[in-house]
């Protein structure tokens, strides 16, 4: 795996100079490679993982499973792309199994999401059925455990 991407995937804040020190490479090389990865669309965005549940004004998330009618020529892509354009939609994935698309939706309240599904997603041409699962609690996101536990400690000096 590309070592720069490996570092950035763990910490989007890592600067070219920090990455260069970790890899023992010239900073200019690293900066150029990052620019190339951005230009090529490999790096799409630098995001922050937030535990919204820690805040009073939180968001509500739901996972939706959709059954979609396959369309001639475009397959699932046309419907998936239409769904992806809504800003409420966080992710759109084609999945194997009983359903076709799995999408996550973000809203301010359950009602918000329910209306959004009823008004925007369900009526779309090609969408045959929707099944909405509200997320009640998130334990792990993007490889990070969100449950606060005291960190195990080490002795401060050992031989």
């Amino acid at each position: 795996m590309n070592e720069i991407l490996e570092i950035l995937s763990e910490n989007a804040k890592a600067t070219p100079s920090e990455i260069a020190a970790l890899l023992g490479r010239p900073e200019a090389d690293v900066a150029r490679e990052i620019r190339e990865l951005e230009d090529a669309g490999v790096i799409r965005k630098y995001v922050t993982l937030i535990n919204w549940e820690k805040l009073d004004q939180s968001f509500v998330f739901a996972v939706l499973e959709l059954k979609v009618a396959l369309q001639r020529k475009t397959g699932y892509d046309a419907v998936a792309e239409r769904i992806a354009r809504f800003s409420e939609v966080e992710s759109v994935r084609l999945i194997s199994g009983d359903h076709d698309l799995s999408i996550t939706v973000k809203g301010k309240s359950m009602k918000d999401i329910a209306y959004f599904v009823a008004e925007r997603i369900a009526p779309l041409e090609g969408v045959q059925s929707t099944c909405t699962h509200f997320i009640l609690k998130s334990y792990k996101e993007h490889g990070v455990i969100l449950i606060d536990k005291p960190k195990p400690t080490r002795l401060v000096v050992t031989p």
């Binding site: 570092i7 920090e18 020190a21 970790l22 890899l23 023992g24 195990p152 080490r154 002795l155 401060v156 000096v157 050992t158 031989p159």
Partner: protein, 397 residues
């Protein structure tokens, strides 16, 4: 109560202590430990163990085993499955074959293996050569075994690799064994096959047993580790001591092992069976899981150490702390010789003035004077912060 039991003279526990134990100085690291413990907000580069927690699949396997009631003794030598698994791994890593029945002993950490190795092989007055700076337990263990440690210095000019002339000059007619510990704690030095080959002549000429502590073997950053036992004809006269503490982030589990000639391992097993009986069963179960399925996480941790190593060592050199490239373990060993301070003065002032804890090199032997042991088994953020603070400290000297 009998009359004679009244008015007892004061109990003097000191008079009941073993003279050898009494004469033994406490580890030089103790004083530093106390200093650092009192300091709030200190960044410690003084920890000789991984900052990673043991991978979850290993912990989970142990929990399941406990739930299943697997709480009994194992064979003195250790669980047969674990011995087989380690021998298989050693075959892959070193191309050496050890019989899981007779040539391996599972110990309670490599520390026990070191102790057993000296106790099983040294007679009173026998000498063992120990290159230093080195881990703090070797010379006390030799003394406790009734032996006499003969330390030989290693030098920065040789990148802390032990030189055959140094070994030769320490040998007397009582020398029976030589200790090797590469990749090295505290220097991070390694010995290549060619370096080890240079030692083989002096070992054979003097009929030495080589006790090779290879606990950092998996943490080698420039090519794979070579064991002295891999050299032509050297397997028989080498005891390999290793364990999972450093490679698999399993320090607290206390699982180590010894590999070698059946007579040597058998003698160690005898002492082990009368003292430890067997390594803790639950820890052996965890070790088996780590041996069988722990490679991916182990490689991940090694990769992370390697990234930090590059960043930290280049950082030390950038701020003006001259540091040779450590190619193993997770220690950097920068010099303080240009500062006019001794290792201890430097370490104490760095702690008090900038709250960064490092271990003065002289704790590991006289030739460690003028150096500091800095462990990079700590987070990148802390390493970067520690470098900043060290730079500030150097600027104020």
């Amino acid at each position: 109560m009998k009359q004679s039991l009244k008015n007892l003279p004061a109990w003097n526990a000191d008079a009941h202590l073993n003279k050898t134990v009494k004469a033994m100085p406490p580890s030089g690291i103790r004083k530093f430990f106390d200093l650092v413990s009192e300091m709030e907000g200190a960044i410690s580069l003084g920890v000789g163990e991984p900052d990673f927690v043991t991978p979850w699949h290993v912990r989970e396997a142990c929990i399941y085993s406990l739930e299943s009631g697997n709480t009994h003794y194992t064979s003195n030598k250790g669980m047969p499955e674990l011995r087989e698994s380690i021998c298989d791994q050693v075959h892959k890593d070193l191309k050496l074959d050890y019989d899981p029945g007779e040539e391996i002993l599972i110990t309670t950490g490599v520390s026990e293996a070191v102790d057993l190795a000296f106790r099983a092989t040294l007679n009173p007055g026998d000498e063992a050569v120990v290159p230093e700076p080195c881990y703090v337990a070797y010379t006390p263990d030799i003394i406790l075994a009734g032996g006499v440690p003969r330390t030989v210095p290693t030098k920065l000019a040789d990148e802390f690799r032990v030189q055959p002339e140094e070994i030769a000059s320490a040998i007397t007619d009582k020398t029976r064994a030589m200790l090797l510990s590469y990749p090295n704690n505290p220097t991070g030095a390694i010995m290549t096959r060619a370096d080890l080959e240079d030692l083989a002549d002096v070992v054979v000429e003097n009929d030495l047993l080589v006790i090779s502590d290879e606990v950092y073997a998996k943490l080698s950053y420039s090519g794979s580790h070579t064991s002295f036992a891999q050299l032509e004809g050297m397997k028989e006269r080498t005891l390999i001591l290793n364990g999972l503490s450093k490679s698999h982030a399993m320090t607290g589990w206390r699982i180590g092992y010894a590999l070698g000639d059946p007579a040597l391992v058998g003698a160690m097993t005898k002492v082990h069976q009368y003292t430890m009986l067997c390594a803790p069963t639950m820890a052996q179960v965890a070790a088996l899981e780590a041996m069988e399925k722990g490679d991916e996480e182990m490689l991940h941790m090694r990769h992370e150490y390697d990234l930090r190593r590059r960043m930290f060592v280049s950082g030390l050199n950038r701020i003006g702390m001259n540091c040779f490239e450590p190619r193993g373990a997770f220690y950097a060993f920068p010099s303080v010789q240009g500062t006019g301070l001794s290792s201890e003065e430097f370490a104490e002032r760095l702690l008090k003035e900038q709250k960064v804890a490092v271990v003065p090199g002289n704790v590991f032997g006289p030739s460690g004077e003028g150096f500091l042991r800095c462990s990079y088994a700590t987070s990148r953020e802390e390493l970067i912060e520690a470098l900043d603070r060290m730079e500030t400290f150097l600027g104020g000297l």
